[in-house]
Symmetry: C2
Subunit: 240 residues, 2 copies
């Protein structure tokens, strides 16, 4: 059932992406897109059969996902999509606040004039997007969220520290995942919410940039908290 993929030996161009990488990206995508809800149990053999590969690359992919914090597994009991506790989400936000505040400092210190202009433009565009986001269309929400993420990553990029940028991105993945789970509806934001943030980030006062980013990050937490609370701690129950 798998032999049909035995590599194109005749072809010249072979990026030759490992099967485990394919599995990792695919599974990760399905989690991040919300196609599999937190608590869903993965069967490595089923996944292997489904993807047409042995369950060894599947295992490697799940292990990487576990390291990312997206799934959790117990030695011989199963692997499931991670369901976070409220405390953990708070913790992630604490880490995020630390990283993004640092990002704001660096950006405030190092960004070029053109980059600052672009950030302001992006912020304004994002604010107008939010202003028209009352129609809670899922696709539209996804677009808005993507823009939001991009603004933050752009700030990190203009800080010119790759390691910080990577750390922020990795941390975002988790928050993004959980956020998606409860983001069916969207709250409205104060007008010029991001514009004022960027105003500080592109300003001259590094501490003001730090403070503004901290406030910005903290603003979103209560919304997530109250929406995720009803979700039970999640016991280990395998469905049949």
């Amino acid at each position: 059932m798998q032999s049909s993929k035995t590599v194109r030996t005749g072809s010249k161009a072979k990026p030759q992406v490992p099967l485990s990488e394919q599995a990792y990206l695919t599974i990760r995508e399905s989690i991040l897109r919300g196609r599999v809800r937190p608590g869903t149990v993965f069967s490595r053999r089923k996944l292997a059969e489904e993807y047409g590969m042995s369950f060894l690359p599947i295992s490697e992919a799940l292990q990487r996902l576990e390291n990312d914090g997206l799934v959790e597994s117990r030695p011989r009991a199963g692997t499931r999509v991670r369901v976070p506790t409220v405390e953990e989400i708070r913790g992630r936000y604490v880490v995020r606040e630390a990283l993004e505040a640092q990002s704001a400092r660096l950006c405030c210190d190092r960004a070029t004039f053109e980059e600052r202009l672009e950030l302001r433009r992006m912020a304004e565009q994002l604010d107008t997007l939010y202003a028209h986001a009352e129609s809670a269309e899922p696709d539209f929400q996804f677009v808005v969220h993507t823009h939001h993420l991009e603004l933050h990553m752009r700030i990190a990029q203009y800080g010119r520290c790759k390691e910080l940028r990577d750390a922020i991105e990795k941390n975002h993945v988790l928050i993004y995942n959980w956020f998606y789970d409860v983001a069916a509806e969207r709250r409205s934001l104060p007008p010029h919410f991001h514009a004022e943030l960027v105003l500080q980030v592109t300003g001259t006062d590094i501490r003001a940039a730090d403070d503004a980013m901290r406030e910005h990050v903290r603003y979103g937490l209560p919304f997530i908290e109250e929406r995720i609370a009803p979700s039970s701690p999640g016991e280990w129950r395998l469905k049949r």
Copy 2:
């Protein structure tokens, strides 16, 4: 050196630590202790034979180490201990500054009275250790460094945020590793260096705690930088 570990079937208590975990911890320890220098190439089969196991758990261990940033591997070319660039070390210090400054904030805000007393006691003890550290005995240096690490982790612990603590610890591993590589000799520190840090961290002004920790972290960077500069960028032999 390996076969004696074929599981204690007779015993009742079975922590049953997986082989991959054993390999991970062992290899990681040997890297962190500096027994294998940066740039050393690992042979999975050799390691497997050496540890008396198949190279599958070895592969899993190396993959985890790669995720930790301690080793790097290329698809079918080999796995070696990571040799960092100066820029990367700077980047790690940027991340560390962000995390530890947040840790200082939380500790300043949340630590109990007794915990603050203990931190001050630890800091004074550490300062006296540094004061007598002119004898650059390796073991003694190791002890000093261990105490230093413990102080930082204690501050993180008293901040009462598990996720932040874990992030700091993970980030420390890398810096610690590289530090060890060049830590044959030790520079002297200003008197009461840590005591004054802790004084701010256990004080009443959160921003002062933040600033003090940032300064503290930044203090150590130049020393590492100039010591690691001569080390070549470490060519991995980028393919044609």
